[in-house]
């Protein structure tokens, strides 16, 4: 069994973003998804600081300090792009106009609770940005994260121990081991990496998982 690397995870998420989608990619791992969006699909990227139709990073020397993304990195605009102010930008989210947002996470709970903004450590300076708006705003919230912490703990948990970003807001989880839907019946495994067994995935995840057609994974 081989875990997906970060680019493979990004490519896997990108495959599920349909033509015509309005999408916000969160800071960190999700930004990699932009590099893997199929060229034959027209997909508009939203940057919450006020841009729809975001293009790739500019060539060195072409950076414009007035044209940045939510991670404050220089970007470009595609033909047809639009600028707007913050209240409009977050209205696009909160109002349910974005089709998909892809977020990183510390933990996702079996009911779709998301924790991704704060470790809760006493000396940490809290910073939330647009995370809570994104968590509740898009029609579909995809989480993209390593399945396990560096110390081997599952990031998919019965109940989040980190402070919540949003309640029951995650629709689908993409990890380096599996793709899992959050459903009213529980977490349903859609895919596993080649060589992964149901027994092994159950063991490392440590919360109940449902399997659509178990023969698919034999």
């Amino acid at each position: 069994m081989e875990k997906l690397n970060r680019d493979q995870m990004a490519a896997r998420v990108a495959r599920d973003i349909p033509d015509g989608a309005y999408v916000n990619l969160g800071i960190g791992l999700p930004t990699l998804v932009a590099n893997h969006l199929p060229k034959n699909r027209e997909i508009l990227l939203h940057s919450e600081n006020g841009l729809l139709g975001m293009g790739p990073a500019p060539a060195t020397g072409d950076e414009d300090s007035d044209l940045i993304n939510a991670g404050k990195q220089p970007v470009t605009v595609l033909p047809g792009a639009a600028f707007f102010h913050q209240a409009d930008s977050f209205g696009m989210m909160r109002g349910g106009h974005l089709d998909i947002c892809v977020l990183g996470a510390f933990q996702v709970a079996v009911n779709g609770d998301l924790a991704n903004w704060h470790t809760g450590a006493a000396d940490a300076i809290p910073a939330v940005g647009g995370a809570m708006d994104l968590a509740i705003g898009a029609k579909q919230v995809f989480v993209m994260m390593e399945h396990l912490t560096k110390s081997g703990q599952s990031k998919i948990v019965q109940s989040c121990t980190y402070p919540l970003t949003g309640v029951a807001c995650v629709n689908r989880i993409y990890t380096d081991l599996a793709v899992i839907d959050v459903t009213p019946q529980g977490l349903r495994v859609l895919e596993m990496v080649p060589g992964m067994s149901i027994e092994e995935l159950n063991r490392v995840t440590g919360v109940p998982l449902l399997y659509e057609r178990e023969s698919d994974y034999a």
């Binding site: 300090s65 102010h85 913050q86 300076i125 910073a127 647009g130 705003g137 919540l164 309640v167």
Partner: protein
Amino acid sequence: MINKIVASVEEAVAGIPDGATVMLSGFGTAGMPSELIDALIDQGAGDLTIVNNNAGNGETGLAALLKARRVRKILCSFPRQTDSHVFDALYRAGEVELELVPQGNLAERIRAAGAGIGAFFTPTGYGTQLAEGKETRLIDGRAYVLEHPIHADYALIKAERADRWGNLVYRKTARNFGPVMATAARCTVVQVHEIVELGELDPEAIITPGIFVKRVVRVPRSSTGLRAAA
């Protein structure tokens, strides 16, 4: 005759008193009115409550205002950044108060102030630490949190171009908080790169109508011009 143009940044920030609530436009350094903030530091007002998305970058702009110990409290969504060391040190020493607000709630609370809304229910933050103690309500099966507007005494914002009536256009993602903050303060002060004659701004393209603006000062692009983003 209406003429909102003032001759200097000193004149632009004149009269801001100790204890004022001051909004500062900008997302990071994009759209931050650095020259107005420098003038505010020179002007001397202290004990300020600042509203901005962040809590300063490096040693300039809002970071310089913090470093000069003029800020009692800051409302923002994302204080912690790689170059927010001035804020970080003051916060850890307990010398600046922080009200952390999700970015969309920050924008909407500012918008609500400018639009005369008394309070509003938003789904953002429901069930999280940032909604603790706040009134909640179930509306059509969905849970919401009651949030109140953020009013300001002054807004210092950066735009690209203005006329003497205070009509404004912005530049790219430097627009960010400028248009909503302009509506939410009793006195909105704008620094622009260029002042044009009445009628030169296309009425279809004006983003902030001059009714929201009290003072405009031109700051040449040479000092706030295009920089490679950090």
